[in-house]
């Protein structure tokens, strides 16, 4: 069963994605949208080792030509990050979520959207000292739980 892990503190530059235990690089966009009603959208877009863009279903397709890199974060750095792990074969019923290696239950929905796009401003980019102005980021991560009293509670996964 494929396993997708995201280790992050909510900032893009401190976000690592692992697929079956190996950290992958060259990711352009990651979308995970799962809810208990049966919605299951898990798509990843990455630049392969052949410089081509691939868009794949994470848990049902084979990630061809994906670039793997050694783990970026040390043990000390990893302590400061949140680790979300998704084990699934493409179906909601068989999906299991782990947060910091602890299983989660009562999950109503999971929404994770991370996207990076370099801002091609041309000459104006020279004057932008802050690096985040050079890259358009999208980082949304929400998880909704159902409490014992049937109330719903939405939390940010990595903050």
């Amino acid at each position: 069963m494929p396993t997708l892990s995201i280790e992050s503190n909510g900032m893009l530059e401190k976000t690592a994605v692992y697929y079956n235990g190996s950290q992958i690089s060259g990711i352009k966009e990651l979308l995970v949208n799962i809810d208990e009603e049966g919605l299951f959208d898990c798509v990843i877009q990455y630049e392969g080792s052949d410089k081509k863009l691939y868009t794949k279903q994470i848990f049902t397709d084979t990630l061809t030509n994906v670039r793997t890199v050694p783990a970026s974060f040390s043990e000390e750095e990893a302590q400061l990050l949140q680790l979300l792990t998704i084990e699934s074969d493409g179906d909601v019923e068989s999906s299991t979520l782990f947060l910091n290696e602890e299983p989660l239950d009562g999950v109503v929905s999971l929404y994770l959207h991370i996207k990076v796009d370099k801002n091609k401003d041309g000459i104006s980019s020279i004057f932008k000292k802050k690096q985040y102005n050079l890259i358009n980021e999208t980082f949304k991560s929400e998880i909704t739980f159902r409490n014992e009293d049937d109330s719903l509670e939405t939390e940010d996964i990595f903050l």
């Binding site: 893009l12 530059e13 994605v17 990711i27 352009k28 974060f73 020279i126 690096q131 890259i135």
Partner: protein, 218 residues
């Protein structure tokens, strides 16, 4: 009818011509338009009288007489108004300076080297090249020779052109170029701006790469 035609012609000429065109038309200069216009208004002008009067001694209004060959020699009146600089000193470049000003500015030269050359018209010209030593003298020699070493090309941008002073006897004193601090500061400012943009671009690019080195996203 003739009055009407003449008035219309005068008005159209006033409307269309510039002052220079009016002066170039010798016939109308002789006619003294202002006076004639006044006479027209007063009703005293007669075109017939004007035409008959012009027939007396003008170029127009008569048949051609004995054919005479065109004169090959020009009137000396034109040479009398010829400018004093018959293209012996270059018009472009250099500085205009009198002999006294040049001597006061540059002082006593180390060496005065006579050189002969030709101007654009091909006439021989005598130059007195004043040497004061240093790089500027070498530049001046390069200008006079029309050629300079390749390594002098870049430094020559920081110097002015040589100073040419025409003397009364027809010879030309040549004084060396002077260092132009304004050019130096301008070049330094432009170079600094270019270097700033290049470093800022490289810094921002490296910052982006280094900050996302640990991330799976790129």
């Amino acid at each position: 009818m003739r009055k009407t035609i003449f008035v219309f012609a005068l008005i159209s000429i006033f409307m269309c011509s510039t002052q220079q065109e009016l002066m170039s038309q010798a016939t109308f200069v002789n006619l003294n338009i202002a006076d004639k216009f006044e006479k027209i208004i007063k009703g005293n002008f007669s075109l017939d009288k004007l035409i008959s009067a012009r027939r007396g001694g003008g170029s127009f209004g008569r048949s051609r007489g004995i054919s005479r060959p065109r004169s090959t020699t020009r009137s000396t009146a034109r040479t009398a108004t010829r400018p004093s600089n018959p293209q012996r000193t270059p018009s472009f470049g250099g500085k205009r300076m009198s002999s006294q000003q040049a001597q006061a500015k540059y002082g006593v030269p180390r060496k005065v080297q006579p050189m002969s050359g030709t101007n654009a018209a091909g006439s021989p010209v005598n130059y007195n090249v004043h040497h004061y030593g240093g790089f500027s003298s070498s530049l001046m020699t390069g200008y006079m020779m029309g050629n300079m070493a390749w390594w002098m090309m870049a430094p020559s941008m920081l110097y002015s052109r040589p100073v040419y002073v025409e003397k009364g006897d027809g010879s030309i004193d040549v004084y060396p170029p002077s260092f132009d601090w304004g050019k130096l500061f301008t070049i330094l400012i432009i170079a600094a701006v270019i270097i700033y943009f290049a470093r800022a671009y490289r810094r921002n690019k490296n910052r982006v790469v280094s900050n996302y080195s640990q991330s799976s996203f790129s």
